[in-house]
Symmetry: C2
Subunit: 523 residues, 2 copies
C-alpha cells in the first residue's frame, strides 16, 4: 500500500489558500499512484483557531471547504483534518473521503490538557477503523496517539494526524515515540504534522513513517513544506539524522518570524539596537528573514550608554546594510524629569530613572512604527522574563518576541551559530559583559547570579519542574535558588503583559507556566 | 439534620490563614449543634492556583494543612476542598473528616472547559455517596454539579462545593439552577462557594440551600464572608432578593480591588485623571476602597486637552480629598518629537503623535509608581479594548484593570450609582461627550459608532456569541456591524498585552474570548 504524506503550511481561516494546497497534493498523490493521501489535523482550518472554533460561520466554512475538496477525490482515498460540530461539542476530526464523498468522520477522543486543546473541547463517540485496499487503518487525531496502548482491535497501520508545535527536543522525542510505538504494536505507522508559523506558534513538520518492526521509512523536512509517498510493500530504511538544537532553534525562529510577517501582510520591522547580545541576535534574524532593506534600527543612547554600545551597533547595522538612526534620549529624559520634579519630590536616582530610559526608547520605536508601519520586534529573553529583569512598557514591548522563549545562554549559542560563516554580530557584542546600561557602570551580574548559574536554576525550575530542594541538592547555592524562585514568583504581573514570544520551549510563559497574581506560598 | 455553610475569603497559598479560618468555623458549627460543616472547593489552597497545582511542595502543604485541620474535628463531620494528587493526575477533591480522621476523598469527575479548570486536570475514579447521621449525601465538586441529571442512586441531599467566580447575572442564574435541581431531583441541596478577590478573579459567595421541593432555606451574603446553619428538619423559607446588576458590579469591584491590594500587601494606588468618565469612576472606586489618603492622581494635560478636563478633574480630586499634581506633558512631547525629527522625516500629525501623548502619560504614572510605591490602576473599559481604541503602553497600562470588563454604557451606569447619594463624580464629567483629547476637537464618535450602538453590537458578538448575520437581522447597520467585528478581530494583538481586568462578565478578554494572532477569516 502506498500512502502519501502531505506536510503543508496552512493559514488560519485562509480557506481558499488551504484548499488549493490540499487539492494540489491530492492530484500529485493520485498521479504518483498513492492509495491514500493524509493531511494534518486542522488542515482545512489551520491552527490554532482559539475562539473561531465557537464561530458558526467559521465551522460552516470548514465543512464547505471539505465538500469542495471532496469533488477532487476520485481514485484516491483522502484523510484530512478539520474541526466539526457534533452534539454541541466542537471536535477535532478527520474526514475520510472516498469516490468524491465524505464517507466518515473520525473524532478526537482525548480531552487534551489546557496546553493542547486551543479552545477546542474535543470529545467524540470514539475513533473507528477504516479500510483501504484491504488494509485496516486506525486513525488517531492529535493527542489521542498518546493513548496508543489502549487502541483496540486488529489493524495493519496507524495513522497519526497531528498539529504539534515545535519545542526544544521535540523532533527527537517524536521520532523515538513513533518508532517505539510501531515496534511495540507491530504496526506500520504514518504521522502527519503541520509546518509553519502561526502567531507565536511554530510547527516544525517532521512528518514520518515507520514499518511494523520500527524501521524509519519516511521522514519529511523540518521547517519546510514537503510531500512524500511511502510504499510499505517496498520501503527503504532511512537514517534519522542527528539534530542540532541550536540549528533547529534558528530555523524555528526563521519560520515563525517569516510567517508572522507574511501571513499578516507585514513587510517591515524595527527594533532598538542597544549594543547588547539580545538585540543583535534579533537584528541578525530579522535581516536574514525579512531582508536588510525591510529592517530599521534605532540606537538610543542615554548618558549611561558606553561609547562602544553605539559603535558596535553602528558596525553591525553597516555590516548588514540596515538603515539606522541615532536618537539620543537625554533631552526627552530631562524634560520628563523636570516635569515630574514637583510630583516626585527630591529623591535619589533609582530604578525609576532606569525604567524611564527604557520607556522613552519604547516611545521612539513605537513612533517609528506608528508613523511608517514598521512592526516593533521585542528583544527580551526568557531569563529576563523569568526574573523580571526588564522594564514593563519599556524593553518589554513589541509586537512579538523573537527570542523571548530562549534563555540567555541559548541566545549566546544562537549568536555564535549566526556567526558560523562570517562575522555578522561583531565579536565585541558577543564578548562584553551583559549590561542594561541604565545607570553608571551597571552590569547584569550586579543584580543577578551569572547567567550560567541563573539559567541552570531556571531551566530546572521552569522547564523540568524541579523543586527547590532538588535544585539545591544538585549543588546550587541555597540562598541563590530561593532568591531566583522568589523573583520568578514575584514577576508574574510583568509576564501577563509582555509580548507573546515565539514558542521554542515546552514551557513558554503565559501559556505553560502561569503563577497566580496573588500567591502567599513560600515556594 | 443541621448543615453549616462556611463561606470564607481564602488566599492562594496562605495555608496558615486559610487553616485558621476553617478551624474557627468548625468550632462555631460544632458549638451551634451542626452535624456537618461544608467549605468550598479549594478551600485549603485558595483558588485559582494555576501552575502551583503542579508544584509538589504546594500539594504537600495542602495535605499537611488538611491533617492539621482534622485534629480539630471531633463530634462533627467536615467536608473541605483541596487539590490532591492521584495517579499522576491533579484532582480537585473534597475530604470528608470524621472523628479527627480523613475518612474519604471525593474527586471531581468532570474535566472542565479551559475556562474553568485553572490548570487543574481533574479526573477521578468517580464520586461517592457518604453517610452522615443516616442521611445519604451525594457530593459534587465544582462543575460536576452541571451533570446532576446523571447522578446515580438514592440520596437525601446533594452537596455542591464550588469555586465559581462572579460575572454579570450569575447570582440569579445560580439561584435558579439550584432551585430547579432541588425540585427536579426532589433532594435537599446545599451549595458552598468562595468569596473574595484573587488577582483578576472575584468570587461573590452567594452560597445557598434548598429543600427537596425547591424552597430557598439558606442564602448567604454576596461579596462578604458569612456563616449559616440550615436545619432541614425545621427550615424557614426565604425570599430570593431582586438583584441590582449595577450594585453587584459595584460590590464586585470593591471586593476585587480591595483584596488585590490587601492580599498583595499593597497600600497605595495612583492613576491618571483625564476629565473623562473612565478615570473618574476608577478614582471614585479607589478612594472608596483604599481611602482617599492612599490614592494619588496626576492630571497630565497636553495642548489638546480642554480646560474643563483639568478643572473637572481638580474638582473631583478636591471633593474626595485626594492628592493631585498637574503634570503638563507638552515639554516632554516636544523633546521626543524633536529627537525623532530626523528619524520620522517631514510628516503630518497623525496617530503617532496621539499615541505619543498617551505613552508619555504612562511614563509619568510609572515614575510615580516606581519612586513612591503607588500601584498604577488601569482605567480602560471593555468597549475600547474590544475595538482597539486605546494606546498600547499608553492608557492601556497599569497593574490591574478596574473597569476593563465593563462596556462603556456600564461605566456610565456605575458612575450614576456612585453618585446616588451625593455628587462624587462631577456632573460635567458624566455629561460631556467622550473624547480621548489626543488631537484638536477629537470626539470618540469621530472614529466609533455612538456607544449605545457600539456596545449593543459588541454585547451581542462577544457576550452572546451571536453571528454577524444575526446582529444585522436584529436591526443593526450592515456596514457598521462588519466594521466593528473587523476592529475586534484586528486588535487581538493589543489585548494580548493589556493589564488583566477584574473579571466581571462571563467572557473577559484574554481568557474567554481569544482570537488567533493570524486570522484570514472574514467573519
Amino acid at each position: 500500500m502506498k500512502v502519501a504524506i502531505a506536510q503543508l503550511n496552512y493559514t488560519v481561516g485562509d480557506f481558499e489558500g488551504n484548499k488549493s494546497k490540499i487539492i494540489d497534493s491530492i492530484c500529485k498523490a493520485r498521479d504518483k499512484g498513492a492509495d491514500l493521501v493524509v493531511f494534518a489535523e486542522y488542515a482545512i482550518s489551520g491552527t490554532p483557531c482559539f475562539d473561531l472554533l465557537h464561530n458558526a460561520p467559521f465551522l460552516e466554512a470548514c465543512e464547505d471547504t471539505l465538500h469542495e475538496i471532496a469533488k477532487h477525490c476520485d481514485n484516491i482515498s483522502v484523510l484530512v483534518g478539520l474541526p466539526i460540530q457534533n452534539d454541541n461539542r466542537i471536535i477535532s476530526a478527520a474526514a475520510l473521503i472516498q469516490n468524491k464523498w465524505v464517507v466518515k468522520y473520525i473524532g478526537k477522543q482525548r480531552i487534551s490538557s489546557r496546553f493542547d486543546n486551543m479552545g477546542c473541547i474535543s470529545m467524540s463517540a470514539g475513533s473507528e477503523h477504516i479500510e483501504i485496499k484491504d488494509n485496516v487503518l486506525e486513525v488517531a487525531i492529535g493527542e489521542d496517539i498518546k493513548d496508543y496502548r489502549k487502541f483496540g482491535g486488529e489493524c495493519d497501520m496507524i495513522i497519526s494526524m497531528r498539529s504539534q508545535p515545535f519545542f526544544r527536543g521535540i523532533i527527537e522525542q517524536r521520532h523515538n515515540f513513533h518508532r517505539n510505538m510501531a515496534k511495540e504494536l507491530g504496526k506500520n505507522v504514518v504521522m502527519v504534522n503541520h509546518i509553519g508559523g502561526q502567531g507565536d506558534f511554530v510547527y516544525d513538520g517532521s512528518s514520518c513513517a515507520y514499518t511494523n518492526d520500527g524501521k524509519l521509512v519516511g521522514l519529511l523536512n523540518n521547517f519546510a513544506e514537503d510531500f512524500f509517498i511511502v510504499d510499505f510493500d517496498n520501503a527503504l530504511e532511512l537514517e534519522f539524522p542527528v539534530q542540532n538544537r541550536t540549528y533547529n532553534t534558528y530555523r524555528a525562529i526563521k519560520l515563525g518570524l517569516g510567517d508572522y510577517f507574511r501571513k499578516n501582510g507585514f513587510k517591515k520591522a524595527c527594533l532598538g539596537l542597544s549594543g547588547g547580545i539580545d538585540s543583535a541576535v534579533v537584528l541578525a534574524m530579522a535581516a536574514e528573514v525579512l531582508g536588510a532593506e525591510n529592517v530599521r534600527v534605532l540606537m538610543m543612547p542615554s548618558r549611561f550608554s558606553s561609547d562602544h554600545s553605539v559603535n558596535d551597533s553602528v558596525e553591525m547595522a553597516e555590516n548588514l546594510g540596515v538603515k539606522y538612526n541615532i536618537v539620543p534620549i537625554a533631552d526627552a529624559y530631562d524634560a520628563v524629569n523636570s516635569s515630574l520634579k514637583e510630583t516626585l519630590g527630591d529623591t535619589k536616582f533609582d530604578v525609576t530613572e532606569e525604567n524611564m530610559q527604557a520607556r522613552l526608547r519604547m516611545i521612539m520605536l513605537m513612533a517609528l512604527s506608528n508613523k511608517h508601519g514598521y512592526i516593533v520586534l521585542n528583544t527580551s529573553n526568557k531569563s529576563e522574563a523569568a526574573v523580571g529583569y526588564g522594564t514593563l512598557y519599556g524593553d518589554e514591548s513589541g509586537s512579538i518576541g523573537i527570542i523571548g522563549d530562549l534563555y540567555k545562554i541559548e541566545v549566546y549559542a544562537l549568536a555564535r551559530f549566526i556567526n558560523r560563516e562570517r562575522t555578522i554580530i561583531p565579536d565585541n557584542i558577543i564578548c562584553k559583559a551583559p549590561s542594561a546600561e541604565l545607570r553608571p557602570d551597571q552590569k547584569d551580574s550586579d543584580s543577578l547570579p551569572p547567567y550560567e548559574v541563573l539559567d541552570a536554576i531556571l531551566y530546572r525550575f521552569i522547564e523540568e519542574g524541579q523543586e527547590i530542594e532538588e535544585i539545591i541538592t544538585a549543588g546550587f547555592d541555597d540562598e541563590i535558588v530561593h532568591r531566583v524562585v522568589e523573583l520568578v514568583k514575584n514577576s508574574e504581573y510583568k509576564r501577563r503583559q509582555t509580548p507573546p514570544p515565539l514558542r521554542l520551549s515546552s514551557r513558554p510563559f503565559s501559556s505553560h507556566f502561569i503563577m497566580p497574581l496573588i500567591n502567599k506560598f513560600k515556594m
